[in-house]
Symmetry: C2
Amino acid sequence: MERRFVLPVEEMPRRWYNLAADLGPCPPPLDPSTGKPMGPEKLAVLFPMALLEQEMSTERWIPIPEEVLEVYRLWRPTPLVRALALEHDLETPAEIWYKYEGVSPAGSHKPNTAVAQAFYNKREGVERISTETGAGQWGSALAFACDRFGIKCKVYMVRCSFEQKPARRSMMQTWGAEVTPSPSRETEAGRKVLTQNPDSPGSLGIAISEAVEVALGDKKTHYSLGSVLNHVLLHQTIVGLEAKAQMERMGVRPDVVIGCHGGGSNAAGFIFPFLQDKIGGRLEGLRAILAEPWACPTISKGVYKYDFGDTLGLTPLVKMYTLGSSFVPPAIHAGGLRYHGSAPMISHAVSKGLIEVQAWHQNEVFEANVRFARTEGIIPAPESGHAVKSAIEEALKAKAEKRKRVIAFNLSGHGLLDLSAYDAYLAGELVDYEYPQQAIDAALAKLPQVAEG
Amino acid sequence: MERRFVLPVEEMPRRWYNLAADLGPCPPPLDPSTGKPMGPEKLAVLFPMALLEQEMSTERWIPIPEEVLEVYRLWRPTPLVRALALEHDLETPAEIWYKYEGVSPAGSHKPNTAVAQAFYNKREGVERISTETGAGQWGSALAFACDRFGIKCKVYMVRCSFEQKPARRSMMQTWGAEVTPSPSRETEAGRKVLTQNPDSPGSLGIAISEAVEVALGDKKTHYSLGSVLNHVLLHQTIVGLEAKAQMERMGVRPDVVIGCHGGGSNAAGFIFPFLQDKIGGRLEGLRAILAEPWACPTISKGVYKYDFGDTLGLTPLVKMYTLGSSFVPPAIHAGGLRYHGSAPMISHAVSKGLIEVQAWHQNEVFEANVRFARTEGIIPAPESGHAVKSAIEEALKAKAEKRKRVIAFNLSGHGLLDLSAYDAYLAGELVDYEYPQQAIDAALAKLPQVAEG
């Protein structure tokens, strides 16, 4: 059997898959001032209409514009690889497959939606997109994408990352983006924070406020989000659709599909197309697993309620698994998984019992990552390592049960810009945080009160 | 026309191409103590016999062992991409194609030979391989390769890089290699240097001496080199063979092929398979170009003479273009191109008029790299940028001459671990070194005297 299969470029999927068509739409976002469902018109100042339509759509298939396909072809279709050496090392009867998204220019799955968002903004005459970024994965993907379409990109980067992690800042600047450490003096939100604390290291919450403020204040500037929203998850389904096509071509039928879980976009992108077949009865018995950190156990320890998407309470209220929007997770190396909520559509599927969750500590994730690197050769991103860990555990279960099982996971990015985290692990310096129950309880106690209809 | 073509995995070439079969062998290495040709037996203490046989072989095709193919399949075949956006930006009638080797786990072409070398060493019972590395590209490729075959890897890393560029050190350690800053106290060579200068920042020359010393002192340890030697160039021909197969499948006939030039391995790997067709008359008029830095203009300003491969004069004498083995190039960001010599087989082909050379300054290389990143999306390694620059110049020439021309180059690696160099360029802080004629003259004056037969 071949170890690796790359779909021919001409067979790359030309439509995204919308789970809402098969699962039903998730509960609507609510206007916090009225408690009533929020129409797209209120959000049109931030997002192009095409994306808002996708946000609300219940169409099963959304065509991918040719201009977006053309950029995808720079690195897509991505490989589907059988982890033969890892299987051998685990002495498992299970087959382990991984879909590798690290081959994109930005090194992760994030450009799948960044490119689409940049395209729709460009088509509607937007000249600039603002966004926030922590360690820089999302910012670099958006910088790359904006640059494809000749659109300006303004990134507010959390100041401590801006100063301590210059690599992704350089990537963004190389792709022509304007990167500003947040809090900045450019916005009212930033100045307010700096007045109180001139040495503020910044936070994602503050950076969001700055990015939204400049988009609200300028008709030619829109705002962009890299996860959570329906249209973001939709764009990521190219990952799972490709994987399905690859598996069909190789005669592989998955028993377990796995994605790491922060806001939910890479997991949804990989898992949703398989859920279609589970719902339709073509993949009965399929298990779908989200792998999240114990330091931020959104689904493992959260509640399924209406909450704000951001820390400051500027966004609409969305129904999702949440640890409370005031919850601040401990600083782990998998920065991309430090989000208090889970995408509404993921939460919807979890609430229907279609997806299960597993949670892991940093050290066991890095142990899995190093095991993967020493067998399969690729050094995974700290975030992706959570999926690696779940895949290994499932393979070991199959071994204990002496059963063949086909396990597939999304290796959402490489770790070449996170090698200091590997250093810390190899030096025995990584801290495992027990999940911060007290902080979670406190944040949950502050959840907004919403009368659900 | 499709923008990108990936050869199906099952069509990956299964043989390496040996240019010596069509060009004739290059002049033999000489024993510096006798001035006579050196047989393989003297080198068997450092290299496995299979590699020494490849070193001397004039067979046209050398089969790639299945075990090596199996590892190649982790990332090979690599893509061949039409640089449509770059062409558009240049408004050129030329077609520009690039072969992208940055998709390997180590991020460059280096694993193509590292994997083969690790395999042959393992097959002959070697338990450990020692090598030297500067910024770490070669060391990380060898660490990755050794780890595939369960063989130990000992890397002497130039101390200043070890301290200032921790990312590739972390990669090597993640793949299980033992990385030691050089000069070290582990070897006589290292201790000697440290006695004279306890704060020595190290150099590649010293690190080679340390790596060779431990291989000489231990029967189960061999030494490995990442460029220059015939067998290294041979293993890299998988790159050009794939590119040829891809072009044939797409109906593309190249007019110009380009590789960046340090020791010569990536350029040879890409160019040699095309030279076979040039020599055979099937690609008459094909131009092959080496792109090198003005800071280390080995072919542009060197002489074609017998010289030592290393700074300290420990290696056999080989006939090659050289700036003199005592020449120390200025510190440029393209560290992989800072070598005083050119591979004997490359030099042989240059001397026969089959390959031409172009040289570039740092700033124009980074200008080309940023242009490439802002059109094609991939951020090139500083070394690979020299090939990017030559490709752009050739495309602009085609534009000036109003002629269609097909230009293909090897994008030998990505620059994700070299982003600080992009920072320096964008900040206007890169220095362009005029080629150091005085230092070259001084080094050439010290060339060993060899009576050529």
